[in-house]
């Protein structure tokens, strides 16, 4: 009956015969076919490498274009030999193929390591050693401790007595805690005689989902869930060995399904390149068209000699001839789009990305890791970010939870850490004593309602392990001595909140001792161990926003403990209990704490029996299991009684506020997208200075919607219009990119929650209208806070902004799995190597250890990368334009015969050798403004915002420059050749001399143009710039100095040497180079104010001077930061005042520029409202009298600051350290 049932299976499930043993009916047994257990991450094999790789490479438009050009050169009679374009193309293709081949070889190696690994398989009662790749679905596999599972297994037997095993999934999702997995219940002891089938869903990538059923011979059924499934890639821990049956193998394992490639992100720069490319293609085609047309016009006139091949063709062939002529011109001018540009851009990106991973400022000593670059394609995008979407927990905050206080039955308790007292609970409100029972119930709830595990090895090694009694003593002993025994106890949980709560409970005297065979042990205040049988765990999920446990105490009471967000608990408890606690919860939330409410419910035996069956049934169902479970959960978690609430503090990340401030100063808009509740998130925003005192908050939440007591939709409509009026229409026109200078009057913050957002996005009427209104309001606000967001909603918001007008560049930063969707959605995804596993990091484009690193990543690295690559691209187009333009002009002087102006060697080498290295070096090391200045002055980021350097304006400037220089090169030499007798012996120069002079001017000009643009001359720049010029000269001598046997025509023989022997040639070269660069020099001088600005910033930071009499060099940096520190929470951002004074020393001539940065924090005191009145202007007017001595290397700086309020401050500095500060 079983088998007949099996045959009617739905297609979306698979059946596995454990140990390949069919059920009773052997005839009906058709062994199902599954893929083998080989992991193939490699792309190629030895045989298909060449065709497949070539195919993939030529799918790229650029490569394909160059291939076509090459083929045209081979087929059609063209002026240049196929070598000129074939060689570079071959080079590029080969290098790429080698790189990809090498990467694939590495993948092969890694695959083999996994596939050839020997595992033990039970086969017909024998233990067989097999290579991992030979495992078939249905095999029973043995895995011993610390081995990784070779495929996805359903756990059949464990060596542990409690039928569990521990697993860590660090390599899968980064969570290093030990997860408990369970054997199939009611398992037969003898695996060899086990006759069973497993029916489970088809492979799917979700790591945390698995639905199946096991049918055993004895005709009982057991449901299987993710807790029974051991995933390939996970490691067995704390368990001697296990047996499991393979259910998914090879490429069908969840690990393999999860490692499929992400979609490629393309940067805006790449789009600009493509646009420019199109322009240049048009130029190319029109040049070729012009030349072809003119050629035939010209040929219709009498020509200089009669070449039978050229003219007199029959008319039907004429068109073909015209076409080949056209192609021929295309080939001649094709250098305008060089292969090498793509290579250089790729190299720049690849090599440039190392600077991020190399940066020691990104190194975090805590986790011993630096930044990680997952893609190098987006480096420059980091300099273009307009919108930053940040997660709150773990990103803005540390995700390092600390239990702050709790509120039990309306009374507030604060834990005083370091007061050693027996009574650990300090009641703030004098309470009507007694009611100890409630307290204890609350603490028991905290101890029981969680999924925390106790880290076992620590206990064992200390010799405390073994019997729980010992452990108790040990903990107790330490507990008295230290305040934070958490480190010693070692709790592991997927959520840090839970750990914080358990530790909190421990501080109050209730210690969770761990799980033992399905029962939880708790030590109460009287050092008695209480045991509770764990009946059910109603897991946490973001929709319910709560979790529950059902336990049975020794006395036989069945209890349900539930904890969760206030919004999800309050409706489910008796209403009269709510009010007292709601007040506390709200106050805590405003303080920025994360709050959780705890409720409980006593279940009567018959009630429990019902719940138990329902839960089991729901878990067993194959279809809609989630929905059914949710229904049961909702049913159970109702009508509870509220015991209390907890407040857990999540501290702000280091420098979170400074980072946010810098980002806003750089013109970025920061949106906080969090799943947390509004009050908590809002206070975090205040703490991060995203919202300020003057910020007018526009709230669009469920609460404001329900205020009017009217239809939600109407209210939404009304509010949206109102906000739109305030923030968009009435607001003073905001200049692009400029959002905040101090506190402008029109400073708005917008708050929306998940429910309202879905209302806005999915509204039945005018949804588009709402969407645009919403977007417009948000875009006019300085900061936006979206709270109570589901992961998918986060991505929705990102997408909304991404696709809005002007398609701004978005950046998402987050640390958890719930941020993955928005990280993938945004243009740039940043992962934080935080505490919530590695999923965000794995899916990100860049990963950094801390939020504070974002500032340098964007403001310094991003800015520099953008400037570098933008310059690289523009320069490449420019240098090829002025390279090819003379060749085009020459067509007018050679009868449109496709005569190249330059020798083939020059044509080939120009982009590869003569001009490629300087620009590559430039694009790797250039710092037009030094990093400190970029970090110090965030506004500099706005200079490059919105693709400023690659818009049509700069592009046409570069193009015009190229045209100007190209014209100059050609016609300068043309006028010189009005009389070709250029040597003092009366001999004349020919066409190759002409080309060589033009080419020499060209190479020198474009290289020197780059030299003019270089602001940061390291030895690398010197080496490549002067080296390139020297190489060109050397090469030309060499190329023209030898009769090359393989050349058919020695066209350039002695041309270069002869050219140099002519004074006129020298003079024209110098003249043309200088004339070409004149406008550039002029422009740079006229652009002076910007240059000064950056230099000033630059000089204030490092200042080097040499002493004439005591020769020494020292660099000293002065930065005084005056910070008013207040013990209470500062809500407002600091205002920074800078003033600069310059003075010259008479005896030791040098100039000092000192900048004093006063970071003053205006603040409001909640309790004693007052304001600081010192403002930037009064500050600046008072320049400090200044003394400066320089004797024997000792510097003493005395700064006297006189403030308007009469308060004087004298600061004495010796060298770098502050010696004395006196306030008068």
């Amino acid at each position: 009956t079983l088998c007949s049932h099996m045959r009617t299976l739905r297609v979306d499930s698979r059946t596995i015969y454990v140990g390949h043993r069919p059920c009773h009916d052997p005839e009906a047994f058709i062994p199902p076919k599954f893929c083998d257990n080989r992991i193939v991450s490699s792309k190629y094999t030895v045989w298909n490498f060449l065709p497949k790789n070539l195919f993939e490479q030529f799918r790229r438009i650029a490569n394909f274009y160059f291939l076509i050009i090459f083929l045209v050169q081979v087929i059609v009679d063209t002026p240049t030999s196929p070598v000129t374009s074939g060689l570079p193309l071959f080079f590029v293709i080969t290098v790429t193929a080698i790189k990809q081949g090498y990467e694939d070889w590495l993948r092969h190696k890694a695959d083999n390591e996994v596939n050839k690994y020997l595992v033990t398989v039970l086969e017909d009662g024998q233990r067989m050693r097999k290579e991992s790749e030979k495992i078939k679905v249905g095999d029973v596999v043995e895995v011993v401790e610390d081995e990784t599972f070779p495929c996805d297994l359903v756990l059949l037997r464990s060596s542990r007595e409690d039928e569990t095993c521990f697993v860590t999934t660090a390599s899968l999702d980064g969570e290093s805690n030990h997860k408990t997995h369970y054997t199939v219940p009611d398992m037969e002891q003898d695996l060899l005689s086990l006759n069973a089938t497993i029916e489970c869903e088809q492979p799917q990538p979700d790591l945390y989902k698995f639905v199946g059923r096991m049918h055993m011979y004895r005709n009982n059924q057991e449901s299987l869930g993710p807790e029974n499934l051991l995933l390939k890639g996970a490691t067995l821990k704390n368990t001697e060995k296990i047996y499991g049956v393979a259910v998914y193998s090879g490429m069908e394992t969840k690990m393999a399904l999860n490692y499929q490639g992400k979609s490629q992100k393309r940067s805006a720069v790449e789009k600009s390149i493509n646009a420019f490319l199109l322009v240049y293609l048009c130029i190319l085609v029109s040049k070729a068209l012009v030349c072809t047309t003119l050629k035939y016009v010209w040929q219709s006139q009498p020509v200089f000699f009669s070449v039978p091949t050229e003219i007199g063709l029959k008319y039907n062939l004429m068109y073909l001839k015209m076409f080949t002529d056209f192609l021929s011109f295309m080939v001649l001018f094709n250098f305008i789009i060089p292969v090498s540009m793509y290579v250089t851009v790729e190299m720049q990106k690849f090599l440039g990305s190392f600077f991020i991973s190399w940066d020691k400022d990104f190194f975090d000593p805590e986790i011993q890791e630096g930044a990680l670059v997952n893609t190098s394609d987006l480096n420059e995008e980091l300099g273009q970010v307009e919108y930053v979407f940040t997660d709150k927990t773990g990103t803005l905050t540390q995700n390092n939870m600390e239990f702050i206080e709790c509120c039990i039955d309306g009374r507030q308790f604060v834990f005083h850490c370091c007061i050693p007292s027996l009574v650990l609970l300090v009641s703030v409100n004098p309470s009507p004593c007694g009611d100890n029972e409630k307290e204890e119930l609350f603490l028991r709830a905290l101890c029981l309602c969680h999924t925390v595990q106790v880290k076992e090895p620590a206990g064992r090694e200390d010799g405390l392990g073994g019997a729980p009694g010992d452990q108790v003593d040990g903990v107790l002993g330490q507990d008295g001595a230290k305040c934070h025994p958490a480190e010693l106890r070692g709790f592991i949980a997927s959520s840090p909140d839970e750990v914080a709560l358990v530790i909190g409970a421990m501080k109050y005297g209730f210690t969770f001792l761990g799980m033992e065979s399905n029962s939880m042990k708790v030590m109460n205040r009287n050092n008695e161990v209480e045991t509770y049988q764990l009946l059910h765990v109603l897991n946490f999920d973001p929709v319910r926003r709560r979790m529950s446990v059902i336990v049975r105490s020794k006395s036989g009471d069945t209890m349900l403990f539930c904890k969760g967000a206030d919004s999800s608990i309050f409706p489910r408890v008796r209403q009269h209990e709510v009010e007292r606690i709601r007040m506390h919860v709200e106050r805590n939330a405003t303080e920025g704490y994360r709050t959780l409410c705890v409720a409980y419910k006593l279940l009567k035996p018959e009630e429990y029996a019902l719940v138990d069956t329902e839960l089991r049934e729901a878990r067993l169902s194959l279809q809609d299991r989630e929905d059914k479970l949710l229904k049961v959960y909702n049913q159970v978690e109702d009508n509870m009684s509220l015991i209390g609430a907890t407040a857990v503090e999540d501290r702000l990340q280091e420098e979170a506020a400074e980072t946010m401030e810098a980002l806003q100063g750089a013109g970025m808009r920061v949106w906080v997208l969090t799943g947390d509740k509004m009050e908590t998130a809002k206070s975090t925003c205040y703490a991060c200075r995203l919202f300020q005192r003057g910020t007018e908050l526009l709230e669009l939440t469920v609460r404001t919607l329900e205020d009017g007591g009217r239809n939600r939709e109407d209210r939404l409509h009304e509010l949206l219009l109102d906000y739109h009026k305030r923030a968009v229409q009435d607001a003073p026109p905001v200049k692009a990119g400029v959002t905040r200078s101090g506190q402008s009057p029109g400073d708005y913050g917008f708050i929306i929650d998940g429910a309202t957002l879905s209302l806005v996005l999915n509204s039945s009427t005018d949804s588009d209208c709402y969407k645009t209104l919403f977007l417009k309001i948000c875009q006019n606000c300085t900061s936006v806070l979206c709270c109570r967001m589901a992961p998918l909603q986060k991505a929705q918001i990102v997408k909304l902004v991404k696709c809005s007008k002007g398609s701004p560049i978005t950046l998402s930063i987050g640390d958890g799995a719930n941020d993955v969707s928005m990280i993938l959605e945004a243009h740039v995804g940043i992962g934080i190597k935080g505490k919530e596993g590695r999923q965000a990091v794995r899916n990100s484009d860049y990963a950094i250890p801390k939020l504070k690193h974002l500032k340098k990543l964007l403001l310094a690295h991003g800015h520099l990368y953008y400037v570098r690559i933008a310059h690289l691209v523009q320069y490449f187009f420019y240098k090829n334009l002025c390279f090819i333009l003379p060749q085009f002009l020459y067509q007018f002087f050679c009868g449109y015969s496709q005569q190249p102006l330059y020798d083939a060697a020059y044509l080939t080498m120009y982009n590869i050798c003569f001009t490629s290295m300087p620009i590559l070096a430039y694009s790797l090391v250039e710092q037009h403004i030094c990093m400190e200045a970029l970090l110090e002055n965030a506004a500099l980021y706005r200079d490059v915002a919105k693709n400023a350097m690659l818009r049509w304006g700069p592009f046409s400037y570069w193009t015009l420059l190229g045209v100007y220089q190209g014209l100059l090169f050609f016609f300068g030499v043309r006028f010189l050749f009005g009389n070709p007798a250029l040597q003092d012996n009366g001999q004349v120069f020919g066409n190759w001399s002409y080309g060589t002079i033009v080419f020499t001017v060209l190479v020198f000009t474009v290289t020197l143009k780059l030299a003019l643009d270089t602001r940061y001359w390291t030895w690398v720049n010197h080496f490549v710039i002067w080296g390139s010029l020297a190489f060109y000269t050397f090469f030309s001598f060499f190329w023209g100095g030898i009769i090359w046997p393989f050349l058919r025509q020695q066209r350039l023989y002695f041309v270069f040497a002869n050219m140099l022997s002519s004074v006129a040639a020298w003079l024209v070269i110098i003249l043309l180079i200088i004339l070409s660069l004149l406008p550039e020099i002029l422009l740079q001088v006229l652009r002076k104010p910007r240059g000064t600005h950056s230099r000033q910033v630059l000089h204030t930071h490092t200042h080097t001077h040499t002493d004439r009499y005591y020769p020494h060099k020292h660099t000293h940096t002065h930065r005084h930061t005056h910070t008013h520190t207040h013990t209470h929470r500062q809500v407002l951002p600091p205002q920074t005042h800078r003033h600069t004074d310059t003075h010259t020393d008479r005896y030791y001539p040098h100039t000092h520029t000192h900048t004093h940065t006063h970071r003053q924090v205006p603040h409001t005191d909640r309790y004693y409202p007052h304001t600081h009145t010192q403002t930037g202007t009064t500050h600046r007017q008072v320049l400090p009298p200044h003394t400066h001595t320089d004797r024997y290397h000792t510097h003493t700086h005395t700064h006297t600051h006189t403030h308007t309020d009469g308060h004087r401050q004298v600061i004495i500095l010796a060298n770098k350290s502050l010696v004395k500060r006196t306030s008068l």
Binding site: K360, V925, V988, G990, T1018, Q1050, V1085, P1089
Partner: protein
């Protein structure tokens, strides 16, 4: 200490390069540098410009068209190209001495030596004396690779075939006519004459050319170009070398002779002269022009006003710009320009 090792393994190298802190020179083009720089460049350019301009001014050039377009011209009779071995004369008078060594050029206009097919149609292997290529010239020489009888042409190709073949003799008209000796040596590039072009090693030279034919437009084979001077014969004939160096532009001149005779070494004295032209080269069909140019040269080569003027203009431009900048800066004062 494994922990320590791990730390050093993970920690990024703290070097100037990896941290992007290489010591660097950070130049700023400030007015303080640019204005004096412009003045200096301007002055230097004006100096060079004046020198060039004066030099160019001092070069004497005499240019005469002898195509014979006008009916008054003596060469009119030859221009139709119907008369074989047509000879015409070109008279000119020098009122003062033509100073220095005088260079005799011929010039062609509207003649596209720079045409691609023209330049490509030659076989450098032949010209370097490789006799293998005498029997089988390169295909690029088409249509002058083989003649109608399938005999290989040496030197093959359009370039060689179209060699300029007018010849000139210069006479001073004093007591009848006195030949002004024209020196044909040293008119071609040294490298062409000594390295790039080689005659086949055979004596007599003609033996190497057995089985080959002369280019169809030529009146005599290459080994008979100059029977009087062995070193000027064959591929080493300097007129041939000069022709084979392609001109860059359609209006060009090529060096024909130098006047180095004992009486004329320091210039042509005043008087009447005639150039006797053997008019062979047809140019009328493509509207071309032929001329002779007498010129002396200086350190900068032949007469070329462009360079001097360009230098003067750019030099003055620099001065003017520096003045403008000076005014701008004086007015708006950039305090940090020290």
């Amino acid at each position: 200490m494994p922990k320590k090792e791990l730390e050093t393994a993970n920690r990024p190298d703290n070097t100037a390069f990896t941290q992007q802190r290489l010591p660097a020179w950070q130049p700023i083009l400030s007015a303080g540098i640019v204005i004096p720089g412009f003045v200096l460049i301007g002055l230097a350019f004006i100096g060079i410009g004046v020198a060039l301009f004066l030099t160019s001014r001092n070069i004497t050039v005499l240019e005469m068209d002898y195509t014979g377009v006008e009916t008054t011209s003596d060469c009119y009779k030859c221009s139709a190209g119907t008369l074989p071995n047509c000879v015409c004369n070109l008279y000119f008078t020098l009122n003062e001495t033509f100073p220095g060594t005088v260079y005799f050029y011929y010039g062609l206009s509207n003649y596209f030596q720079s045409y691609r097919k023209f330049g490509a149609s030659r076989d450098d292997n032949q010209l370097s004396g490789d006799t293998y290529y005498f029997t089988s010239p390169l295909a690029v020489c088409t249509p002058y690779q083989y003649d109608v009888n399938n005999n290989p042409i040496v030197p093959c190709g359009i370039s060689a075939n179209s060699m300029f073949n007018d010849t000139f003799n210069l006479y001073q008209l004093v007591n009848g006519s006195k030949t002004v000796p024209l020196d044909g040596r040293g008119i071609a590039w040294w490298s062409d004459y000594n390295i790039k072009f080689r005659n086949p090693t055979s004596d007599p030279l003609r033996n190497a050319f057995n089985g080959t034919v002369k280019p169809p437009f030529w009146s005599k084979p290459v080994f008979e170009l100059d029977l009087t001077d062995k070193s000027n014969n064959g591929f080493l004939n300097q007129d041939f070398l000069v022709w084979m160096r392609r001109a860059a532009l359609p209006n060009f001149r090529k060096l024909y002779r130098r006047i180095t005779g004992p009486d004329y070494a320091s210039g042509l004295p005043p008087g009447n002269y005639t150039i006797e032209i053997a008019y062979n080269y047809p140019v009328m069909s493509f509207n071309g022009r032929k001329k002779v140019v007498l010129s002396n040269v200086s350190w900068m080569g032949g007469k070329n006003d462009f360079l001097g003027v360009a230098y003067l203009v750019v030099g003055s431009l620099c001065i003017v710009m520096s003045m403008v900048m000076l005014i701008v800066y004086a007015k708006f004062k950039f305090p940090d320009d020290v």
